[in-house]
Symmetry: C2
């Protein structure tokens, strides 16, 4: 076994940190390392936390980590910043991480910023989560900022996805939520002690009900009371095959020793989702689907690299010039390359 | 020639609208259509306008379109919404478009929302811009919301990229700007009549100077006064090979008949950037680089489709199951598929 892989599985933080650097740089070593780590993965529960800037995601993630630590669980935090494609600056950086967590050997924190494409960052996150999983952490919390496709790609690593909102972020932000609501297993209104929290909770509940119009005809506090079946509406107390996201309220603060509120309920809801995924077999189909997507992505990259290696650079350059000059269109250009 | 392509080149709005629907749906017809349109492209100037929610991008784009119309130019607007991957709702939609523009045959407006991946949206935008270019519009304004990688991909269609800011959007938004600043050819502080505009302008200028630390040691109102050369600092009035983004102030309003401010200076700056790109040969290298990226993307997709067509589905499914069961790792799985 690769000594670095051995170190990680054996619990060495130093080996882990070095491996994460390899992964972040997508160095050649990282592939064989991940290959060796892969059989040791599959034990950690991965929770994705996403939402717009200003919702207090980092504070929430810190509060969740503290709660897991109090329950004797180990936690790794990956803070992913998809918004900075060039500077590589990590705005979610460790710098604002709570002093409550620092020095605790049961916690591991890592920031990752975009290097290259968004697809690259999603891949790096997935691989980093695998390394942390192999290192034996009970929970891996993946935190990501932004609003849009970026989170969708990044949270694909998570078993449970939490979308965080906060009161009073304005109309535009409200509109953006429509898209990411659909990736949420749990919705959290953080900063719930602020004015307007009731409105935000109400708006989210209304959007959730709109999102399930054909299946759920009546809801009460997030529990299904009536669903549409081919035989007509049917009242149920609990449907094990249908997960309906709840809207929870939290108050998570950056201040040391400050009161956090609603975190225990959130932790419970994550546990409930975990149970749901395993009992409903939906967890297995989620895993299968993600592996399929990953293999497609890897295959795409691999066949492309082979094709490129077989293509003489001068020939490619000549084709580029012809397309720039508009004597050849891009569609025909690719056919010419493939024929060569 | 395809009758739809003929209609577009001949100036039929109806043909154009139908073609854009084909492009948006990535229908099989769209590829041959784009192939025929390609020789008719290359005349429009494409301006990308991006920025966080709340900066007033749509109003600014409308004001720019009005200014171009007054100068006798035709304008197409593509409003791209990368934030809504599932619902397909166009939050930048035509609904809020100014009545000033409606009914004007020299203006064409189209909204596009994400269907599928972000990469898909960037491709759709690029193809839509080509159709609008072939249709003979003098300017194509591509407007996109969000903060991060999404704009970077989408503005790759633009010759001139404008990043819009507004006063008082909060710290988090400020932090996000760091990444997208680097794609800006022109920075605009919109809503410049609001409190805090001076601070926003100052902050952006400071960030710009940070972004060019080795090259520019002194700046005065966006003009280079002194640059670092291997022989030491050198004072120059104007360097034709160096474009330094300026920070402009605008006040663009949605109200009919309301006073817009700073738009003429923005239009002038776009013209100046256009001149710069053609004189410095940087325009040609920008075009070449983008064609290269496009051909790589198309080639990747084409070889992947060929590989997939050659792969028996049962074989692929068996490999997926092995990876899910962790008896095979993803790296090895791809090698097995390629060997088969």
């Amino acid at each position: 076994m690769n000594p670095l892989a051995e170190g990680i599985v054996g619990g060495s933080r130093r080996a882990l940190a070095r491996a994460l650097t390899h992964i972040e740089n997508q160095s050649p070593e990282s592939e064989s390392l991940l290959s060796e780590l892969y059989p040791h993965t599959g034990r950690a529960w991965v929770v994705g936390v996403t939402g717009a800037p200003g919702t207090g995601k980092s504070s929430l993630v810190n509060a969740m980590a503290l709660a897991y630590r109090r329950a004797g669980k180990t936690v790794a935090i990956v803070a992913v910043d998809p918004t900075s494609p060039f500077t590589g600056g990590a705005i979610l950086g460790d710098r604002i991480r709570m002093r409550d967590l620092s020095g605790d050997p049961g916690v591991f924190i890592r920031s990752m910023a975009t290097r290259g494409s968004l697809g690259g960052l999603a891949r790096t996150t997935r691989d980093a989560v695998r390394a942390l999983d192999a290192a034996g952490f009970d929970y891996v919390l993946v935190e990501t900022v932004g609003a849009g496709q970026s989170e969708v790609e990044i949270v694909r690593t998570a078993h449970t996805t939490i979308v965080v909102e906060a009161p009073g972020l304005g109309d535009d932000v409200q509109a953006i939520k429509a898209g990411i609501l659909e990736i949420a297993d749990i919705l959290v209104v953080n900063k719930a002690d602020r004015p307007g929290a009731d409105n935000t909770v109400r708006a989210l509940r209304a959007m959730l009900e709109l999102g399930h119009p054909t299946r759920v005809t009546a809801m009460h506090h997030g529990r299904v009371m009536q669903i549409e079946t081919p035989g007509g509406p049917e009242v149920v107390e609990h449907d094990p095959y249908l997960w309906l996201p709840k809207v929870l309220r939290t108050v998570a603060s950056r201040e040391v020793g400050a009161e956090n509120d609603g975190i225990a309920a959130l932790i419970d809801e994550i546990a409930r989702h975990r149970t749901f995924l395993s009992r409903s077999e939906q967890g297995a189909s989620q895993a299968r689907e993600r592996i399929q997507i990953e293999l497609y992505d890897r295959l795409k990259q691999a066949v492309f690299e082979r094709a490129l290696a077989a293509l003489p650079p001068a020939h490619f350059d000549a084709i580029v010039e012809a397309v720039v000059a508009r004597t050849l269109d891009p569609q025909q250009a690719v056919l010419q390359i493939l024929d060569a």
